[in-house]
Subunit: 514 residues, 2 copies
């Protein structure tokens, strides 16, 4: 085969292979993934979770057909595979053999699909094994059909059940490979989850990039909504189109979760924007928008929510409700640091919301202590958790310590996906919210005890506000925390930015209009 | 439950429920789908393919989890289900009971998922059965758990293998439902495919809308590429971002297939833009772009390809190659009408390309008859078919008559997905192309016979052109055909439009700059 058929591996100035989406985007050195494998091998060997020579088998993502058609659903690499190999091509599997004498404590083998001539015509030049080896910095590359683990001393693969979905990892990609001398893989699952939870230097750069791109895209969308405020033909999904365009232009075609692009009373549905409610209501000038959208880069995702008035000006009621939620953001971010239990942060946030709504609007008629004891905010106003781990998955792994699960009996922690003491290097969301959902309000007002603790007239007057969520992506630092997104959050800044009275550059904050 | 929790069904002025994505988009009366069911029932009864009372069971699409996470892949309704019911909600199934005494020759039952309180908090107001019945114009609505077909006289479901993917329909959505007295469903598959192939009045309007939105989006993208012609930081995917934004702003968030957004030599890979080649090359001012992208509306998709020079000006070589392909488009569209065999159109297109490339560039040294006899264009320059059926799937069903399959022995028809006599109401693509793929050129030049029939110097000089495809979506009319997209196609019009010397409004064509 002549040379022009062999693609080149992109290398940076120091000759390291990298992932990027072009000159204006972030370059990620792919040795990062070898480092992840090294850490995995070290952890497994150190704690004797698997004997020397064990071969860990990992299943990469495969393209899934759209029903019986010849098109495919969107593709994202499987997250554990991405963490350990960073391979963008579908249809691969890999092994990590534990070897304490090797420089990186393991030997890695990547198995790639073998393609025929049809591929060279339809899909592009066939990448030889050497291309994969050089690009992904692995010890060996073989074809998927060449796997033979029959001589392995022991084998292992990830065994565990995702705490957010309830789906067993084993249900992913059932490639027909028989593993002999197979050891239990639940410790592997725990170790990988814990490794993924603490982001290293390169991963932090990726999360920063995803958050800055998301911030720019949100800013552009806020302005676009303001410019369209008098357009009666505008639909909720137009804001989503704007956000996705801005992300895609900077190499983030994928979003880490379905865009929630609601307006007005739709804001009260926490996971709006799914196929049965596809952001398809028309937007009114008086609507508060709640936009929960996050750009993804190299499979790491941001998760950012902005709430703002279409008109560029909060009504008095919208402002009081918004500032009640913002107070909870500030209360948490002021104190969040390693060693604090996130369950306490969640309880703190719901208390602040109760206090603020009462101070500002006389919402609760009972003492705040009783309101918290009955978990009225968690039950009726913020029926989701304060936040969750963030990384390769939007609801990332390791929200609870190994062996621990959500406490379903404590109603004050309803829906909390992150219930553990936080550590330096965690990236998590801080996203208090307050929703005026007619269904929950009816339930509340017909409750024999809880109905007596709230001013129903005030409560029902809030229904048109819909709902508010303010969601930051936060890195836990050595002695505190750092918000990775950069977006106007105060009522004054939001109004000034939307109306063009100030500028805002993610990473640099606000400035005067030139 | 109070009324404000019950969503309303959108109805048009004449009180018919419809699908639309807002004021600026197309309204589709949902009775269209009842009409599709009526036609199905009539065909089954008339040809005695199933006895009176047979219950046809149909499986709607379900959300698919992204591996073990709690996010889901993008959603599109399953195509046969969409054709017969037009239901946008995932997780439904349905039955059509044949009944010649009923007004529409059948009784339809839609089975919808039953949701609990969590849905009302997280996803949105729970739609009652009456909402589904009114919206989708079915005879009865029950919950999925309420299915009981044990008393059915006979049952049937679609049985067949998609000709393009090779996937059996039975592999779609294996919901645990036992069908008793089950009849063979292969005739049902054939009948549905034939029904889907002839578009009715409402379907033609949808295809027109998808094609006009796609045309606008392509036009905007051409201009954006021209404006960016000197920007060395532009990547292939920026054009894709532009197209998708324009589509999404008009209610077409989905595209019917992965966007092919190549530039320069990438153009030679027919299905570029997949996850392993994600439109991630940088674009040079001298590159010819080949953009194959189609917007989807109500699950019906357009499929349009534009080829144009980034610089706004074709080089001499690019122009000669482009006009050779354009001549094939014109030759086919001038004569295409009911009664013609599409295989003859395919052969005509490849002959015209051979003739033009020889007239203009002296490419072939052998007589054109020998070139066609040896199928050199089909083998080495245009290794795909001239076109395919288009509709709910991009490679839509019924490309061959019931019981017929692709002729794999005739190399002149390589890859042709549409091999039958065309009828009024078909919507299909006319998409001749010409690609200078180094892999195929090497193969050609080392062939003992074929290498002597071509001027190798000319052939190799064309490699930097990459490839050209010009793809129209065409409706077969009573006595001819009508192109549904509206985009500048001649070299002169493309250059004038890109450079801002003329305007172009899809549906109205070109006009002077105001």
């Amino acid at each position: 085969m002549p040379d022009h058929n062999t693609p080149e591996v992109s290398k940076s100035d120091d000759s390291e292979p990298y992932f990027s989406r072009g000159p204006d985007t972030l370059k990620i050195p792919l040795v990062m993934h070898r480092d992840h494998r090294r850490r995995l091998a070290e952890a497994m060997l150190k704690d004797k979770l698997a004997p020397e020579g064990t071969v860990i088998f990992l299943r990469g993502g495969e393209l899934q057909s759209v029903y019986d058609s010849d098109t495919e659903w969107d593709f994202k690499q499987e997250s554990y595979f991405q963490y350990l190999f960073g391979v963008k091509e579908p249809g691969c599997v890999a092994t990590v053999e534990l070897d304490s004498s090797a420089p990186y404590k393991h030997k890695s083998t990547l198995y790639v699909p073998r393609f025929d001539d049809v591929y060279a015509t339809w899909m592009g030049p066939i990448k030889p094994k050497s291309w994969f080896q050089s690009k992904y910095v692995v010890d060996e590359v073989l074809y998927v059909g060449e796997i033979d683990l029959s001589n392995a001393k022991a084998t292992m693969e990830i065994e565990g059940v995702n705490r957010d979905s309830g789906i067993a990892h084993a249900e992913v990609n059932k490639q027909a490979i028989e593993l002999t001398n197979k050891l239990d893989g639940s410790a592997l699952w725990d170790v990988l989850n814990e490794l993924r939870s603490v982001k290293d230097e390169e991963e932090i750069k990726i999360m920063e990039y995803a958050c800055l791109v998301s911030s720019s895209a949100h800013l552009s969308t806020m302005r676009a909504c303001y410019e369209d405020r008098a357009n009666t033909h505008r639909m909720e999904y137009n804001a989503v189109a704007n956000f996705r365009y801005e992300g895609a232009m900077r190499g983030c075609e994928r979003v880490g979760y379905g865009c929630i692009g609601c307006a007005g009373t739709s804001n009260a549905s926490l996971h709006y924007g799914h196929p049965a409610e596809p952001n398809d209501k028309s937007v009114h000038r008086s609507d508060l928008r709640l936009l929960d959208m996050g750009a993804e880069y190299h499979c790491y995702t941001a998760d950012v929510t902005c709430t703002f008035p279409t008109s560029g000006e909060f009504t008095e009621l919208q402002k009081e409700a918004y500032e009640s939620v913002l107070a909870a953001v500030h209360a948490v971010e002021k104190i969040l640091k390693p060693g604090l239990d996130y369950r306490d942060m969640h309880r703190k946030a719901t208390r602040v919301i109760a206090e603020e709504l009462t101070k500002r609007l006389n919402l609760f008629t009972a003492p705040i202590d009783s309101v918290c004891e009955e978990a009225l905010v968690a039950r009726y106003l913020m029926p989701h958790g304060l936040g969750h781990m963030l990384g390769l998955d939007v609801h990332d792994v390791a929200g609870y310590e190994p062996g621990h699960f959500k406490d379903k009996d404590d109603v004050s922690l309803t829906g909390l996906r992150l219930g553990r003491v936080v550590k330096e290097g965690y990236v998590l969301t801080v996203e208090p919210g307050c929703y005026f959902n007619p269904y929950l309000i009816d339930k509340w007002c017909s409750h024999p005890v809880h109905s007596k603790m709230v001013n129903e007239t005030v409560l029902r007057s809030l229904i048109p506000v819909g709902g508010i969520r303010i969601e930051d992506d936060v890195l836990i630092t050595r002695d505190g925390c750092r918000v990775l997104n950069d977006i106007p959050r105060s009522v004054e800044d939001i109004e000034a930015f939307m109306q063009g009275k100030i500028e805002w550059v993610p990473g640099k904050g606000k400035s005067e209009v030139a």
